[in-house]
Amino acid sequence: MGKLFAIVLTIITVVSTAIFVMRVWWLPADVSAHGPWIDHQLVETMVAAGVLFVLSQLALALFVWKSGDRREGRKITVFPGGAVPIVVLAIVLVGAEILALTFVGSKVWASIYQTPPDPNSLQIDVQAEQFAFYFRYPGPDGRFGSSHPELINEATENYFGLDPANDTTARDDIVVPTLTIPVNRPILLTLHAKDVNHAFYVPELRIQQDFVPGLVIPLHFTATETGKHEIVCTQLCGLGHYNMRAYVEVMRQDQFDQWLKGKAAQQ
């Protein structure tokens, strides 16, 4: 029985690890400026954790294999040195790993989330709601009209609660359901939620951030390649959660300018 356990556990370990190592299922290619750091950190951690995983599973398998030995008169043997080497090993090995991960990891984190956005960022206002995202560009005047929750009316596509009758800055605001951005330009999103918690997740951009009603949460990133990706909601928001999505379209700067001009003309 011990040998069977050891064999099964070894097979499980090898197969599980192999699928990770062969990257049968893996992250989509990164298209963001900060993504390589995250990917690097993830791979480093994965290797370290993978080594620990394989070592402990195989040690378990090996010891179980050997302890099934039923020879007459075999005495039990104590782990060499008792518990002390284990404690030392765990503290030194795991501790060193933790230190390394914390040190490098928090630098990665800090460089993404604790740095102020680029002052030249393109600012886009985001409204998350049950169950869609809407994006607002300030329009030719460069200013966002103010938002009035009581004026939100989806039947007339007033998703941000703008007041064009009285607020002239609101009249040229461009509201679209697709996040359209130029490539290689820092983007600053200001996240609003009008009803419940939502989240902004684009796997290719290596970005995830919750929307919290009542708070305005800034989020900044730079896309480094053109293309179209899905934005999905990752914070449970109700019955349509699974279908709460939008697209992010990364364009060349000239294409973007063209697009923006066309939208402004429609207002």
Binding site: Q130, F131, A132, P177, G240
Partner: protein, 241 residues
Amino acid sequence: MRTRSMLIPATAVLVLGALARSGVVRAAAAAGAISGTVTYTGTPPKAKPIDMAKEPACAQQHATPVTTEAVVTGPGNALRWVVVYISAGDQGAAASAAGVRYDQKGCQYIPHVVALQVNQPLDIYNSDSNSHNIHPLAKVNPEWNKSQPKGAPPIHTKFEQPEFIPVKCNIHPWMHGYFVVLTTAHSTVTDENGGFTLTGLPPGKYTVTAWHEQFGTQSQEVTISGTETKTIHLVFKATPY
């Protein structure tokens, strides 16, 4: 809810059948009609194109983007989606047993506005390849909110109190419609030319009311004698925002 709503249409059919045979429901003999148009003055808001990027399956169904239906105008200042109904003078009649079909197709409500009689069966279909949720924002009637996945059976329902009920799909926020539940059996919704006809009206004095989801109501008194068809004209005042 479902079991209940399944039962009620069935009973309604039975009861109404019995009523019809016993002659309680008057035949349409000696009845007049009111027809006419609904128009607006002033500047209505622009109909905005709807970008259905979120639901590619729906976006593909529309060669040109559909527009918001809160205010739909036609040639000659015609106003569409106005509910015209008899608000006073109606003799009253039992609810029609004929079910009204309300469809979800291409992420639009078809029709945008449906006029119903109290207790008249309403059958909601999903003709799309994606899920919808139907959320009648009722205040007088019980409010409900229910998903209808692709291939799910139609939802059979009805409303027991007269009410103007906005209905929406939260999954597709642009989808907005109205269930207009009325006590009268005489109601209709204006077409793309703003036209309407109310038929089967016995002689008598009536108040005709037109209701628009943004511009409110307009009323006119009409007296019908014999089998004549009276023509009336209702005008709303439109504002751009």
